[in-house]
Symmetry: C2
Subunit: 412 residues, 2 copies
Amino acid sequence: MIGIMRKQIMTLVVAVACTSAALAQEALWSGGQVNSPVVNADGTVTFNVYAPKAVKVEVTGDFLPPRKVDTQTGHMEVPGWAELKETNGVWTFTSGQLAPELYSYSLRVDGMEMLDPSNVYINRDVASVKNIFIVSRENGDKGDLYRVNEVPHGDVAKVWYDSPTLKMKRRMTVYTPAGYDKGKNYPVMYLLHGAGGDEDAWTTLGRTAQIMDNLIAQGKCRPMIVVMPNGNMNCQAAPGEWARGMYKPSFMASLNFAEKPVATMDESFPDIIRYVESHYKVAKGKRHRAICGLSMGGGHSFATSKSHPDTFGYIGLFSAGLHIGQGAQGSFYDALQASEKDKAQLDRLFAAKPQLYWIAIGRTDFLYQQNADLRRYLDEKGYKYEYHESEGGHIWRNWRDYLTAFAQMIFK
Amino acid sequence: MIGIMRKQIMTLVVAVACTSAALAQEALWSGGQVNSPVVNADGTVTFNVYAPKAVKVEVTGDFLPPRKVDTQTGHMEVPGWAELKETNGVWTFTSGQLAPELYSYSLRVDGMEMLDPSNVYINRDVASVKNIFIVSRENGDKGDLYRVNEVPHGDVAKVWYDSPTLKMKRRMTVYTPAGYDKGKNYPVMYLLHGAGGDEDAWTTLGRTAQIMDNLIAQGKCRPMIVVMPNGNMNCQAAPGEWARGMYKPSFMASLNFAEKPVATMDESFPDIIRYVESHYKVAKGKRHRAICGLSMGGGHSFATSKSHPDTFGYIGLFSAGLHIGQGAQGSFYDALQASEKDKAQLDRLFAAKPQLYWIAIGRTDFLYQQNADLRRYLDEKGYKYEYHESEGGHIWRNWRDYLTAFAQMIFK
């Protein structure tokens, strides 16, 4: 034990001595050593901000009741703001009791939006950077599912695969479950992000590794590989992770690049499968492959599954953005009825009897009608699918829920 | 091509339609759509901040000439501040011409330190979160080495290994070079972080993946595996990545945990090697193993290499924090002379003739004397080592340089 104590002392001495500058910096940054946010035992959350010179400090985030805003297309919900109160330079606000969930928030100090100086846990959603916290009150609740728990953990890798179809090497995220080194014949879920996102989105905003670790540990889903490719066909990787450099991300960034995609997601998808099935211990065949995604990734799942009707046994459309050529005013149902090619593809897909075709969407999602149109078409044809309708709109909270549900329905 | 165009339009429509709320948010966050920072062709950098209500906006970072501050232990350098000038609500500052390098910075708006709202590229250094940018003026300069270039990329994985010695599963980062799937018998560099850091530090602050990709592509170092474990022996992983939850990181965090380490880095190191050599295509034997690290990780490299004298052919001490029991006032040289155990270990290590024992430190590093003490001892014993002295102090700029130099000297 002497050796251990020595090491500890050494660490202490080195840390103190070497970091007087860094510690001063840290004290400054961390706002006078307040802690924020503090998730209280009763499920309320307290925010503390050291800002002795500020006149007004506010917090906004999805933990607050949303404000409704009227727009041309109906009402839209945006996060509300709450004011913090000041005592001795420390501004404080305590929320009401929150449901178990992963929340994101930011501050506004005298009109400038900023991150919480005391919270290093940050998620980027396209160009927006927010602090996060998790509320969990008991084992097994939703917050517990998103936490890192004392369970076996899968590995998460950023790997580069070759896409001859897109004529580039591309980066994707691969989750392999705990015990992978001893197992074999794993099924694979291909999990696709939405517009503006990238191969990092599902593991950060989506908490995929934690959800899968926890579901697998609880015996609620089969150990599986989860493959999260990049859905922007003229990008090699997430912003900053390829040779284009540290460009400013936006929903439109990849559309503005001079280089246009040379193929679509569904055309290039075989490159992804080829890489996965030659590099990982997977079971082959459609009963061992699922494809699902959110928004644009739901559209990619729709397109890729019908372009390759014998490839995926499980298909999940999460708040899918569906488009097969309709104009701005045309309905998806009319466009589908007018497209012999798409109708034939869907016919082949459902003739091949996928084990599960799952459509999930929130009641207030702006894509609700598109998905209702798709259901109307599938109903008329007698194609078998399952439908899940939730509260809320086009938000990550729903997509984490849909992933959680879908993962438990597949490969059974 | 029709299919491609349709997909693009779909992406556009979906993105626009679905994200009116998000876009409003994005516009707010991104500060009126200014771009910042802009790295100009001449190597100057322009910062732009939209802050119409602010009275004073400043920027600080390691791109500015440091201010010297007198302390009890001598002078210390801290980053300076520069004031931005306002025009129509946009505050601007342009730096002088900067040397090619990775820089970090933050803003101060009316006294509150904050990140740049227009820059999503962020590094965490212990508890401090800063924006980053890279200046590169020509191919082959240091900025170019830190960039993601159009070269083959290695994969980076976060993997969980079992440490029976520490009685826990632990997370580490593993870089495998491009072409790994077709190669065999790779050498392994074990690369260790400093106090307050974790298994993420070398890939974020250290740009390890980019440095290795670029050096390998240029033929300047051998393709190798780089293993970056966590050096806090009572932690499983980086903050937020293990079951302790989203605690506030600090240099002292792990020392304050109730659970104390049950073994040291050098005692538990065989667990890491066992995992790596049973999971990766590696060449075994000391000629194919290097160990190196910065600050506390340099201390770990010093301790681990002498505890296992036949294990590592290449040893690198980067600004090493060395401690073998000396008191606050005692010199490292005296402590070493007084420790029969350490002297015997060093004797065995150098009798085994490591291919390289490399000591690197900056002239103004507060650990300079310790390392001079070690050199004095090695000189007196006639032990063979190489020494590199650089400008500057205990900073990441130096550690990236040392990694770059060390990687080119090993496995030749």
